[in-house]
Amino acid sequence: MSVPDARLALPVRGRSAARGRGRRRRRGRLPLSVALSAIFLLAAIACAVAPGLLAPQDPALIDPASALQTASDAHLLGTDALGRDVLSRLVAGARSALVGPLILTTATVLLSTFLALVAGYLGGWFDAVVSRVADTIYALPALIVTIVIVGVFGGGWWLAIGVLVLFNMPTGLRILRAAVIERRDLPYVEAARTIGVGRWSIMTRHLLPNLEPLIVTCFFLGFTYGMVELSALSFLGLGVPPGSPDWGRMLAENRVQVSQNAWAAVAPGIAIVATVLSANILGGWLYEQLERRKRER
């Protein structure tokens, strides 16, 4: 099976930025792009936590009389085909947009960290089996397999999350496994082994803390993957149930009327891109910071 090595699975920005930009910029100064990303993500989280406070109107209120209006003072982003306020649905949709990827990436990172530690440190047949399975999964088109499984078994949001955890696992596994292998024969691990520290302790207390920057990277990477995949699923009608405010679903439902009120479909699209982009930028920056702190210590 043809697969790139773990080094290449790392986001390009993470490495090049850490090398080039780090020295030129004075430390402690927050780059503008990072600040904007953080603000946007915080706003999205606020919308997800308290949609009722932030949405100008009831996102589920159907008002056929004012269907498909363009942007106005009453409806800043206009209304959809059922007369629901697009902005309010956008705010309410933040919850399903953030919660799904969060659950997905948490489960994925836990699974891939565990497998990477055990496979990378112990090696042997377990490593061979895990790597082989991960390579095979990596070569499959995640989206297509997920829609076939979810479709045939009759939908189910949790089923989709479970399948996607399995499909997103290899990316993190490779990055982390390579890091474990790089470190397992370093003097501090060797020293721990010599004084008789158990295998499990070495993995959790000596190796795991040193993987922190990479785990953060994997978390953000997994979040962006999950966001794209889950919104694609609901765009195809296989994620959240119909009628619930969800960015992918809004995009699918409102794209037919794009000539009447383009914002109804374009705004959730922009929201998805902005969230993914912010998570990418913030993840890259955090990695850079954590790596530098490790080196300076």
């Binding site: 043809s2 790139p4 290449l8 088109p141 995640a142 297509i144 009759g154 794009v258 000539s259």
Partner: protein, 321 residues
Amino acid sequence: MTGKAIATFLARRLAAAVLVLLVVSVVVFLLIHLAPGGPEQAVGGEFATPQQLANIRASLGLDDPLAAQYWQFLSHAVTLDFGSSIATREPVVDAIRSGLGVTAPLVLVSFLLICLIGTALGTLAAYRAGGPLDRATVGLALVGASAPAFVTALILLTIFGVQLQWLPVFGDGDGFVERARHLVLPIATLTIAGTTAMLQITRTRVKEVLGEDHVTFARARGLSSRYVIERSVLRNAGIQIVTRSGTIVVGLVSWGLLVETTFGLDGVGSLLVKAINARDIPVIQGVTLLIAAFIVTVNVVVDLLYFALDPRVRMQREVRA
């Protein structure tokens, strides 16, 4: 490089490919049995009476042993006979064939554009690393990588189809010219999605290779930049770029499905989406097997390209063979 080594390698790869396809065929065959309510429910629909279900069982041979059923499925599948669609009664092969009329040009043209634009921009960016072109491409690639294909599709559709009205936004058009016009925006979407990945890998690898000793030496010998890039740098960066091309092609199938749905194209991807929504098992089986065969083929081609590109791989194989 002896012909025998190539033949051995090819034979081994093909055997592995056939094995993978057999495993996939078992999974795809079992799909129909794993569906809730069993295959007769999937075929007959929710409201089928017990009598109808029994008839369906008999006509599909569902009372035979599982192994006999699989053999039946497999022997039909190798002759490309996947039965008929439950929804339209059309033979699955015919539906796939007409879908390929849209999907094949969509994926092929996009892939060619991705290779051209991605490697060219990536090489240029790496060559002038840190310059304005480099920073601009890296920034754009980050935005591009953050945009799911269906969002890019929708934005292009809104701007060029609805606001400017330059291009058609829906359907696949009849005749060559009309079809081409209908495919411009979908191809643009896929090209944007794939180019970012291609650009990133090319830029990273070319930058690495540019720093290696043999490039410095080639320059010291007074070889032209163009010669160095073409003969030395790209060839060395080639393995990773080819590997990535393989994953991009596989990705194009997934993204293509979203793009076809967005633009209302009747390609293989939207055939699969429709079949899933209608629980049309024979179509799902046919399309899934086709996609699996495609992916396996891509992987074999990628391995063969390693051979062509890297003499070190050839030597290794020869020693081992």
